[in-house]
């Protein structure tokens, strides 16, 4: 059917452009914003380097223990509602030498937990109807529980043996030569460095030499935040039809590795795991997608979101930036390897999410306690104690 069988008045958001022109335009914009994102990482890295050793000591002292790093990662991500922003910033911190890979790994784990707050908040939109809310809250908290369980298992192993760091360092060493100039200069690094140098020159010409480091730091974070938001928005619009296709495939064919791969590809395309997981919540709430089938898509989203840190590492000077980005990948892959293959272990986060949702429906005040407790009070307490 070439024409839509409904009145034109019912058609909204009709595009002025031909679909391919619009897609090409949006993809071009996404590439421009990706460049700005890399410039942001570079500006952040340069700003941090220019702040001097006192700042480095302060930052390092604040996340000196792994638990403090974990808590800082959770709180920072809850604050910006995006693990991509947090991990890109961590990559900048590691790239500038402020943080060691070992100190940054717990922060990355924290970012993984913190990012789940977005879809937990999204599930609150279903509070009106108990059955819907129960399913929505379970769909949201299964992501929380998986990440918390993965941290409970992997953080002690990281502290004791440096497991994730060692795997990431091994992978990073293998990537040297495969990826464009992990160490040293590359056309991408040079292209990204140029605007930062221009900005520094402008600051110098304005006589802001004293505040240059702080301004670069703030500008870097702003650029990372805004460009990621813009990339996500453009890519979501470009990918909507494909995402609908992919979700319909998950609905018709059910769970499994393919659902996980779909979740990963969707997230890589839109650069946001929150977009993917927040799409799942209403579908589970409406009852068209089961929690068991949504779970592997969520795990795929966890892996897909690591693409941001990998991209950020392209702009960084130190090869450690790539190592921490690979540590993010390693953490999520290990989490899946531990909790997904064996059905009994796979059931644990699902079981916990279902029980929490049941309790939340019986006592709505638990929702607030859970949200504030898991995402604010516990990490804040850990940070204060540590």
């Amino acid at each position: 059917m070439g024409k839509s069988p409904v009145p034109k008045e019912n058609l909204e958001h009709e595009s002025t452009f031909a679909p391919w022109t619009e897609t090409a335009l949006r993809l071009t914009l996404a590439i421009v914003f990706l460049f700005l994102f890399l410039v942001g990482v570079k500006a952040l890295e340069t700003g941090i380097s220019a702040l001097g050793s006192d700042f480095v000591d302060d930052v390092f002292a604040s996340v000196a223990t792994p638990l403090a790093g974990l808590a800082a990662g959770i709180l920072a991500t809850v604050l910006v509602q995006s693990s991509s922003v947090t991990t890109a910033t961590i990559v900048g911190l590691v790239g500038s030498g402020v943080l060691t890979v070992e100190a940054a790994v717990p922060m990355v784990m924290g970012a993984n937990i913190g990012t789940t707050v977005t879809n937990t908040l999204a599930s609150l939109g279903h509070l009106r109807q108990s059955a819907y809310f129960q399913r929505a809250f379970a769909a949201a908290t299964v992501h929380d529980y998986f990440n918390i369980l993965a941290v409970l298992v992997l953080l002690p192993l990281e502290i004791a043996f440096g497991l994730i760091t060692k795997i990431a360092q091994w992978a990073s060493a293998r990537a040297d030569g495969l990826l464009p100039a992990v160490e040293g200069s590359s056309p991408i690094k040079d292209a990204v460095k140029a605007p930062v140098t221009w900005i520094r020159d402008i600051f110098d010409s304005l006589g802001w030499i004293g505040a240059e480091a702080t301004l670069l730091l703030v500008l870097g974070i702003l650029l990372i935040f805004l460009s990621l938001w813009a990339i996500t928005r453009q890519m979501k619009l470009v990918m909507s039809g494909r995402i609908e296709n992919a979700i319909n495939t998950v609905l018709s064919k059910g769970a499994g590795i393919s659902a996980m791969v779909i979740g990963m590809l969707m997230t890589m395309a839109v650069q946001s795991s929150s977009i993917t997981t927040s799409i799942l919540v209403p579908l589970v709430a409406a009852g068209v997608l089961t929690l068991q089938n949504a779970f592997p898509v969520t795990l795929g989203a966890n892996v897909g979101t690591t693409i941001t840190a990998l991209l950020a590492s392209v702009a960084a000077e130190s090869p450690d930036a790539l190592t921490i980005a690979l540590a993010h990948v390693t953490f999520n892959l290990l989490g899946i390897l531990i909790f997904y293959p064996l059905p009994k272990l796979r059931r644990i986060p699902i079981y916990l999410a279902e029980r929490t949702a049941e309790a939340a429906v019986k006592n709505r005040s638990l929702v607030g306690v859970y949200l504030v407790g898991v995402f604010i009070l516990v990490p804040l307490g850990i940070l204060l104690i540590a």
């Binding site: 059917m1 024409k3 839509s4 069988p5 409904v6 009145p7 034109k8 008045e9 019912n10 058609l11 909204e12 958001h13 619009l237 909507s240 039809g241 494909r242 995402i243 609908e244 296709n245 992919a246 979700i247 319909n248 495939t249 609905l251 393919s258 659902a259 791969v261 779909i262 590809l265 969707m266 395309a269 799409i279 209403p282 579908l283 409406a286 068209v288």
Partner: protein
Amino acid sequence: MFSIFKDADQLDTVEEQLLEMLASCQDTFDLATGAVFGDLDVTEAGNQLAVIDQDLNKTERAIRRELLVHGTVRGTEMNQGLMLAYMSVAKDIERIGDYCKNIWNLAQMGINLSTGDDREELVEHVTRVRTLLGESLAAFGEQDMDKVHDLVPGIKQDTIHYDNHLVEFVNSDLPGRVAAPRALFYRYLKRISAHLSNVLTSVVMPVDRIDFYKKSKAVDNVDDL
């Protein structure tokens, strides 16, 4: 898993599914009336009808899921009007299939409408509905607003006509075995026509007025502007 690489407007898929459903209704109507007029074997027609009915129900559920996915993925970019219109249209088409099944149920109960004196009139009504199903399919598929404005008033007249017959048979002194199936048959024709009219109104009426046809309120009516 490669579905993510395939770009497609899901609403196109839904539109195709709606047309397939409507085309299936033509088949179910032919099978049901063929059985109740003794032209087809009742059991054989029933078996074929059951298969089509299952498909209709399955497609209706698929459309609901696809519309939900469309709304969830697109967020504020979704086509709200179209989504609501298609939900309504899918339900109407599914109901047409159900009423065809009810006509077949008459045949299953041993009713043969070809044996009465009113055979010719009944056949005329069946032919009329069959023609309307075909014309509606074309008008809906082509989004032919003029054709819809031609068809809907006629269908409204038909439903009044069927209703009069229904009242006539309910109050008649004829034996129950003659009057009751005819009353039911007219009732089913009336409902099929009414649901068909609803499907067509979605082409010309604003979303809040789907099912409530009034030419002066149609979106293509410029007289009031």
